[in-house]
Amino acid sequence: MKEIVRKIISISGRNPFLCYQCGLCSAVCPVVEYMDTPPHKVVKLIQLGGEELKRIKSIWYCISCMACVDRCPRNVGPGILFEAFRLLTLRRGIDKVDLGTLENIDKVPTIAVVALARKTTG
């Protein structure tokens, strides 16, 4: 198994190989239309373990709303795999968002800032 796939499994505790590509996760995802690759397809690419994985941007659009995790009939929980996928980058000390550059940071509710920081910085 590819190293990247092994790590996603060990950080998430979920098994992407159980997915039978029903597409329900992509149907319920509130941000699917902004993603370059819809959730069910990301899971397929994880199964295949190919080079395309590194180019996927969808994981940064996922806001951990748990809609797909609750509905997945195979208990794959794409949103949880996505978290592990993000952590592969964040745990190297690479931030995805520079909080210092956000214009509206002191106007939005604090929970938005804390949540963004949790999901996009290391």
Binding site: S12, V31, S64, C65, A84, N104, A112, V114, A115
Partner: protein, 269 residues
């Protein structure tokens, strides 16, 4: 109101209530006081972290929330409290999920206990509740004090995500919650049903991709409007902020915290 049995909760405000949603707090505290429900704010508390980590090896992210739960545990031992009440659904969500993880995984609790050696051990029993549950559980008290009629209101209820997902911590059926509708119906407030009441508002994308939030909220709001709503009621400060990107002062539809709506029913003195 001495005919009512005493109900006492500890209260965990969290950072957003104290910084960005003071009026939500004010209305909620007023409402609960009028219902004869006593609150005691925690003497010290920590940020819950807003969204819990979904990684199975990320125990650090539970530290803040667990310290808050331990603080509650100490007070519950001394006083007669029914649980720890939250107003912010994200606080509710995080504390409930920490409880769930630690109940199911004793090893994690062990590691946390070792790490926070200056704290007492967390004994798992703190009952975390959201204000909606307390309101719904005490409809009789509300009926007793509801003096006004809100005949002109047609209310669409917007739940958002964090009171309902993951389903293990949901305050009601996550696919078709009705807890707030039932509460309002029993107080003779007219309800409007629409299909987007549990759809995500776009959450923290407000910081980095505002267009996503605006698109999402337009979909939610236009559906509520088409069904004839003139009020959309919410319980989350972030949902409120995001809705207000579209719902402006003077529009046909007003966004209103549930607590404020209920204060209209019971009067504000």
């Amino acid at each position: 109101m001495n005919y009512l049995s005493s109900l006492k909760y500890l209260y965990y405000p969290g950072c957003t209530i104290k910084r960005d949603a003071l009026e939500y707090e004010e209305k909620s505290l007023l409402l609960l006081r009028k219902m004869g429900i006593e609150l005691k704010e925690l003497e010290s508390w920590y940020c819950c972290g807003a969204l819990p980590s979904l990684a199975i090896d990320d125990i650090m992210s539970y530290v803040g929330g667990t310290r808050t739960l331990i603080e509650a545990q100490k007070l519950i031992r001394r006083g007669d409290f029914n649980g720890l009440l939250t107003l912010c659904p994200m606080c509710y969500n995080v504390l409930k999920r920490i409880n769930l993880v630690l109940e199911n995984d004793p090893d994690k609790l062990e590691i946390l206990t070792e790490y926070m050696e200056e704290e007492e051990r967390y004994g798992l029993g703190v009952n975390v509740v959201h204000i909606v549950e307390v309101l719904a559980g005490n409809i009789d008290r509300l009926k007793e004090i509801a003096t006004e009629k809100l005949t002109e209101f047609k209310v669409a209820v917007y739940y958002g995500c964090t009171l309902l997902r993951p389903k293990e911590i949901a305050i009601d059926d996550p696919e078709n919650p009705e807890i707030i509708e039932n509460l309002l119906t029993s107080l003779e407030v007219a309800i409007v049903d629409y299909p987007f009441k549990t759809e995500c508002c776009g959450s923290y994308h407000i910081l980095t991709n505002r267009n996503i939030v605006v698109d999402r909220v337009k979909r939610i709001v236009s559906s509520a409007l088409r069904r004839g709503a003139n009020i959309i009621t919410v319980v989350c400060p972030l949902c409120m902020y995001n809705l207000k990107q579209v719902v402006k002062e003077g529009n046909k539809l007003r966004a209103m915290y549930l607590s404020e709506l209920l204060v209209h029913l019971v009067g504000d003195r």
